[in-house]
Subunit: 411 residues, 4 copies
């Protein structure tokens, strides 16, 4: 029998820790990082509604290893049995965190300040936690740090609430627990996304759509416009390409020069997108084009006339871009952050880059449906820690067509 | 200047050889195989309705190289200016062609017999040409060869008619000339396939469907059943999996154990397909199950009750299989061949293996639409010489749903 | 509070049931099927080497629902606390199981006969269990059933041993627990596959390779030949295409007519594969071609000269096929079954159909590495219950090249 | 016979217009746009080295249709038989072209100014042509336009030189004329890319690499570093992710927290990338980190120490970003433009967005090899008009490993 490692910490976990797999994950993490555990007590919920409570002794043969284990199990809800206040350090370099900063998850988090557990606001992964002089705490990206800001360092005085309950729910966000695959019943996916959108709208929360240009190329633009008109799309995040092709369709009936009526490349069609951008620039922007009576249909038209906010983020492949496109990506990220509070559901269609960008910004409790024809895109998003995401491998236009039919049916 | 190569042949080409790209392809092939050409005469159709005629001298520095060039340009319609009868040899080994056998394309072909150009029947690629004693010629696979059969060898006395005119038509089979991509207007693809199916039905030709199991998994089975009922599916080629999952859906409401109603794996669902096969085997087959009143809905039910012939081909991944599945692949190929004459259109959905198999059997003038969610599958089929194929990157269920809606709309 | 359901059964589980996730899975399954559980006792292994033991009361509000739950949790190792002998029924229809037959998993299984737990032989998923008069039990596919054979029905008197320990091992078969992705360190994958192959060879077990034609198309044939020569490939399962393209390369230096030297389509190249098959048919087969001195290199040559058995299975897309190809798929499956005992490792490269076919035949304790450039193929295999499979999204030739380099390095 | 359309123009074409397919394309375009042609003269190069010359009358039944046809055939090299000077208009809105601006291709282009054909500089697709007072002409993006700039409008006085000769060359850029596929001989692709890189270096031209983060994730970073050291990578375009993961590997031995040694996620690994960025921000940038002795290996280290320029472009999914990342995408595009002159070869690996962005900036005569494991990415790039691109469907690390071996072998 191996010697008993000398470095020790006691942690406890509460909740549905067995059937939500949190306890097994913690035990597994301890072992796989070379530590040992001793379950000092386990008060098991015998029936499914009872919460459980476990107290675990964690041992490792070095302080570094013990610390690594604690870091690993912390996001699964394992907290020290002897909570102390969190530690903060003043930022010494603007635009950067102090060394040893606590790196956030997208799970609900609390910090302990003066003996009280305080909720962290603006929860977002891969940020630091800034503590205000008045005792409030919130997530901030590193670029927002000013010299002297107080930033949480280490993991003491922090607790994380992983979304345990989700594992038991028999709704949308479970039926595809198995690997991402195109071989699923599609009508079910559509129906469940429709239900989630209705519930969200009924709850007075916002539905956010993140859309790539293939939405327009495949002919799905009219369905998105319909979602805007019927109040099922309350905020739009997209790029220059989606907006341009949408307006190109309104101006010329084409998307990247391909006719959406007969599918054939049209005369000079490859120039349409550039002429579209140029025209909108000459008119002073999308809203100006609507006001001037030049832009009369499409996704952007509907958003502009119904005051549905949109954030158009720039990318290096952009032609033009359109005047409303935010060309600085940090400004664009902050503009997206501004629209996230109040969001209850997020629908991502046909955009890898933008989906990952928004997935990074959303807290874990905002449900996401990510629709893409490529399984790799869907996997990529789910692989990056957005556990709240349902991946649907399907085609943009037919998916949106069916979604609109499903939403309309039940009104 | 290089010496003038010594080995020479004269060929001629007629038709729309410039704008259908046949002449440029021939010239390019000559050069790229190391030969030289001299265009002895070119009678160019000055207007678009005029046929052209070219006479070309081909030279190479060895007989082997010249022969290789002639082999290469032959399928583009370049024929010797001095036609002679074709050469035949008697098969010396049963189930194999004589050495030097002519290897067929899927283009319309004629052989010269006793000074007459005779049409080759049962045109199919990768076959040999068997000449009957009574002067008929037809394609046969090598396994069908009996000792003593007369088989065409070499290329003399043969001419091939590549489908030149297609290059000018502005219909379904052109709007996706560019690389296979998911970013196309989907409604157009659906509409054009629907048009092709209506034209085929109106012309009294058969519509052949080749379907993979994802058709059922995604929930598309009911739409295929509808196609059978409305006369838009006249022959079905599929495998054990499609038929089993279809019958599983009729028996249990699941496909591979996944409920098509709520998308969740059901109790013991993974066993459903096996129990389905076992039940059908106990009943004596699909038709027996229909007669016994046990099978009451689905694709196979509709085919059985409406006398729509189906060929179920075995594969090594099959469980069971169902009694009607043809487990010997040569027998299965021949059974498929038997149903091809009279086919005007072929719709392939969600099956790589079967699509390639059927693509190999069809003559070039049968139009094919190949629908798959993976661009690689579509590319693979088109890469194998089935130039008559339109690839549509889309999802099985939504495609079929839209196709049925489009077909119904216009009745 | 809901009424206490009336239908009840008691089950127990032993082993590493917490950290191998078996207990949570069982609890989750009970709830998700609408049942209730009461953990009557849980003797938890407090340290990682201790086994645990749980006794659970399962309740449901109908006998059917309770049975469904028991069926669901059975493969996770939950067995009745009151074992009785298994039930058998005589087959009444040849080639089919009796109604209610027990459907096997690929996990190690025992049946209780006359109060003794008897190991089931030839473990294979989706089979039935046949009990011999002398008290032996083995898996059989339904086609092998003769009238009067005694087949296990129901689940009583059966226990299943899911591979719990695997969840804790830090080896090849764990580092890709997360979704299938191409974005993994490739040198690690190669190294771990090499280690597994060395361990297998050192243990005197067989290495089985299942290969698709892209192995040859991409230029990987020489590396496979090297594996055969160095004893790292002991059984080969493939199809007509792989063998034909391999021999085509030996005969013409091309694969499907594409030169493996310069990557260009060669003169008459598209005919090479057909001429290759015809030549081998004329010679009487692959081994005859080797004996005749006509076939002198490549995968099939190495197999033939080193008595490495190969099973070539037919498929409906086959040209020819080669004489050794087994055209009846049931015969082919049985021939593959014959070679599986003694197999310690299985390497699948670039073949969806064949990989799934072989995955269905292998017991759960044979480790599998499945290499394919398409994430969908890898996902498909893992989705079908082959939990012992590691998916590696990579390219055939470079993977094999690196594998050979890694294996050679360490000799 | 239809009436003879009234609107007419005469164009001429010279060069290898038949075997490079330019003439057939022009004839096809005229017909498919509803026009008619009359080939007034065709002086055909009878041997392959002779240039041809055609004079074609184009007719359409409206001025608009005629204009559309002329626009369509213009990029294929069809120019009016009566050249006049080009037309310019002064920009009336800053940051936008005048209405009717000529939209550029990436082909070599000339404008006629005062009777002289003048070469257009900085050739780039989707730009306008700005004419300087001193008679020079160059491509400019719309954002660079100042009020009063003289911009070419219409197509008169312009001629385009499509890359005809390429169609005849038997080199790298032809062997994959057929659809993008993973089933190609990979060693050939590697060898041809290596040849192109050697030729480029020998010619004193620059090799530009555009790399995505999967290069590092798959373990390919060391091979890229080797390319930098051996002078085979002269300019690097990448994003925040590639640079961060490369530096993360130097700091922690991981990429996105996955160890490149053993492939397992490491302790706190998911935080590594964020800590990496924070550290570099604290140090003041990549070069500062190298100078401070903190960054000692990897791609960025090699670039920094060898003065290989790099342009890191921001994207909205960026964490941080690193100080050198250009967060404004218009600034980033201009910085990339600055490095393009003198580039002879461009290698793109594992990045869709960045590849398309750079493909848009390159003139047609810079050869590009685009390597990606997903056929869809490769197709997407080729679909966007970058005809000079060879697509290679392969895996990043193995491709780079083989490329380095091939380059080293031949030194």
């Amino acid at each position: 029998m191996p010697a008993r490692p000398a470095f020790v910490e006691h942690v406890e976990m509460t909740g549905h820790i067995v059937d939500s797999l949190l306890l097994p994950k913690v035990l597994d993490a301890i072992l796989s990082r070379g530590g040992q555990y001793h379950i000092e007590s386990l008060d098991l919920g015998q029936r499914q509604d009872d919460a459980s409570r476990a107290r675990i002794e964690v041992r490792a043969d070095s302080a570094a290893k013990l610390d690594a284990i604690l870091a690993e199990i912390h996001p699964h809800g394992a907290v020290s049995t002897h909570p102390v206040d969190c530690t903060v350090a003043a930022a010494d370099v603007p635009g950067a965190f102090p060394d040893g900063f606590y790196c956030t998850t997208n799970f609900r988090t609390q910090v302990r300040l003066k003996g009280e557990w305080v909720e962290v606001e603006d929860q977002e992964m891969d940020c630091g936690i800034l503590v205000d002089p008045d005792g409030a705490a919130r997530c901030v990206p590193m670029t927002s740090v000013a010299k002297g800001d107080l930033v949480v360092v280490g993991r003491t005085g922090l607790r994380v609430f992983p979304p345990e309950a989700e594992m038991r729910k028999r709704e949308l966000f479970e039926f595809m627990a198995s690997p991402v695959s195109s071989e699923r019943p599609k009508a079910v996916s559509v129906r469940e996304v429709a239900h989630a959108m209705k519930r969200t709208r009924a709850a007075g929360e916002k539905i956010l759509a993140v859309l790539g240009p293939a939405v327009v190329h495949t002919g799905g633009g009219e369905f998105v416009a319909h979602l805007v008109r019927t109040g099922y799309l309350n905020v739009l995040f997209a790029g220059n390409a989606l907006a341009t092709h949408d307006i190109e369709q309104a101006f010329y009936g084409t998307s990247l020069g391909v006719s959406l009526d007969h599918g054939l490349p049209t005369d000079e069609g490859h120039e349409h997108h550039l002429r579209t951008i140029n025209t909108i620039r000459r008119l002073g922007g999308i809203k100006a084009a609507v006001t001037a009576g030049k832009l009369k249909s499409g996704i952007m038209y509907e958003c502009a006339t119904r005051d549905v906010p949109y954030v158009l983020c720039g990318s290096i492949r952009d032609d033009g871009p359109l005047p409303e496109v935010i060309t600085d990506i940090l400004v664009a990220q902050n503009e997206m952050r501004r629209h996230i509070p109040g969001t209850g559901f997020c629908l991502m269609v046909a955009t890898t880059l933008h989906s990952i960008a928004v997935g990074n910004l959303l807290p874990a409790w905002v449900k996401v449906a990510c629709v893409d024809i490529s399984p790799a895109t869907v996997t990529k998003l789910m692989d990056r820690g957005s556990t709240q995401t349902v991946g649907i491998v399907s085609d943009a236009e037919p998916f949106l067509r069916s979604l609109v039919a499903e939403l309309d049916k039940s009104i």
